[in-house]
């Protein structure tokens, strides 16, 4: 029947056009090489048998079909600094786990892209003084297919735990995708926390809005606390129209001063004070990659 043949040819034409457009779109969207987000992190280092850092992760975007994974990272400016790097980590253990199945899917897929996590842990024989205040930026990334790339990952600032920092224990963070991160700190000595303008400005640099125990930091008065008490700091990051800014990954620490029971003024370091992890989606990743000039 001629009508059916017309329909058949019409279907073949439409599908052929869609396949051609599909190939074109995929070739256009494909990345030549992985794109690392810009990171802006404060990373704490501490001394044990060697010098270690609190594990942290770097993130990058790659094609969803990319089966490579990161197996090593070196910072050319600091060749003596050794990092364990892997994408193969069982997050539930909160540490490195090398026995994951080989074909485990890495990262989270958004259309033709995946956002991958590279878990890093510093293990160095250098003295802690040699590492303190180092800023890591340019890095050489090694992949499982023997390829490598040199990339600017942003700024990773190493800092050592100051003695005064021992006044805080058990920082606990609960982040969400709507830009809100609440971090709870427990103190182990009696103190009075006060938030003057200088401290407010330092905290304000971290996020658009900061709440201390649920009260805006600019309205927070002196908080008297006893050893064992907790207080929470909530950072609220608002989305902007600038995708480059929204997708910058940040984790800060901030110093505030407190008055101890004996009247002396000390500094208190608020660790893990961070902006929320951005909520990724394919269109925003496309906008981000376009803005970075990667497409």
């Amino acid at each position: 029947m001629k009508q059916n043949d017309k329909l058949f040819k019409g279907i073949l034409t439409v599908v052929s056009m869609l396949v051609i457009v599909g190939y074109g779109a995929i070739i256009y969207l494909s990345l030549d090489e992985p794109v690392f987000f810009r990171h802006d992190y404060d990373v704490e280092i501490y001394e044990g048998e060697g010098t270690y850092g609190i594990p942290f992760n770097l993130n990058y975007i790659t094609n969803a079909s990319d089966e490579r994974e990161v197996i090593g990272i070196v910072f050319p400016d600091y060749p003596d600094l050794y990092f364990q790097a892997t994408e193969n980590v069982y997050e539930g253990l909160g540490g490195f786990e090398w026995d994951q199945p080989y074909n485990q899917v890495r990262g989270i897929t958004y259309g033709h892209y995946t956002v991958r996590d590279v878990y890093l842990e510093i293990q160095s024989m250098l003295e802690i003084e040699e590492l303190n205040d180092i800023v890591l930026s340019e890095s050489t990334i090694y992949f499982s297919d023997s390829s490598e790339m040199t990339v600017d990952i942003g700024e990773i600032r190493l800092y050592s735990q100051k003695a005064e920092g021992q006044s805080l224990v058990n920082p606990y963070s609960a982040g969400s995708y709507d830009g809100v991160v609440e971090t709870t700190y427990t103190i182990n000595e009696d103190m009075s926390l006060s938030f003057d303008n200088n401290q407010n400005n330092e905290l304000k640099a971290v996020a658009d809005e900061i709440l201390v125990n649920g009260i805006d930091v600019t309205d927070a008065e002196v908080i008297d606390m006893n050893s064992g008490d907790s207080f929470s700091v909530t950072t609220i990051a608002e989305r902007t129209d600038n995708i480059l800014q929204d997708y910058e990954l940040k984790s800060y620490v901030s110093d505030i001063t407190y008055t101890a029971e004996d009247g002396t003024e000390n500094s208190l370091r608020l660790a893990s004070l961070s902006m929320a992890y951005p909520e990724f989606n394919f269109l925003d990743l496309y906008r981000y990659l376009s803005a970075r000039g990667e497409l």
Binding site: F8, V15, G22
Partner: protein
């Protein structure tokens, strides 16, 4: 001729629902297409129609491609083979399938018409049209889903490809019960 349609029906059943026992696939997809090819071969002898060379080639291609697909699923694509050209592989398979079965349905309806089964001929022409529409929709959705690499769309795309396949099974079953070669003398032609 009825046995040829029966072969095609059972071949389609095997190709659609690869039968497995535990982890071992007893009847992989290409075996199903081989059975379909055998049925098509029987039909080709009886139809001696030019269209059937297209059908025979199409089903032959489905045998080879599903065999290759089976090997790749076991051993993975070698690293030196780029994955991009194979992205729309399921679409290519479906287009070949559409070509083969549209031609079979068209030739079957023509044969019914030649033998004065005008009502049945019209019915199968209509079924061919429904099959084309169903396959067309599933192909468009599958192509869009593969382009967007969208999991939900892909899920529905794959589900939608099952609908024309099941519809085709009912048509092949019905054809296997028709006596296409019985010539009716006093049928009245119907418009269609």
């Amino acid at each position: 001729m009825e046995s040829a349609y029966k072969k095609i029906f059972w071949g389609l059943i095997i190709a659609t629902f690869s039968i497995t026992l535990g982890v071992v696939t007893i009847f992989p997809t290409f075996v199903g297409w081989l059975v379909v090819l055998s049925g098509v071969s029987d039909l080709e002898d009886q139809f001696s129609d030019k269209q059937f060379s297209t059908v025979y080639l199409s089903v032959g291609a489905l045998v080879l491609l599903s065999l290759a697909e089976g090997f790749v699923s076991i051993s993975r694509l070698p690293d030196w083979v780029p994955a991009l050209p194979f992205l729309f592989f399921p679409v290519f398979l479906s287009v070949i399938e559409l070509t083969a079965f549209h031609k079979i349905l068209e030739a079957s309806a023509d044969r019914l018409r030649e033998n004065n089964h005008f009502t049945s001929s019209t019915v199968y022409n209509r079924k061919d049209k429904v099959y084309l529409v169903l396959m067309g929709c599933s192909l468009v959705l599958l192509t869009a889903a593969l382009t967007a690499n969208h999991e939900t769309l892909l899920f529905f795309g794959r589900i939608l490809t099952l609908i024309p396949r099941v519809y085709l099974l009912t048509i092949m079953h019905a054809l296997s019960e028709e006596n296409l070669d019985e010539r009716l003398e006093e049928s009245v032609p119907l418009e269609g």
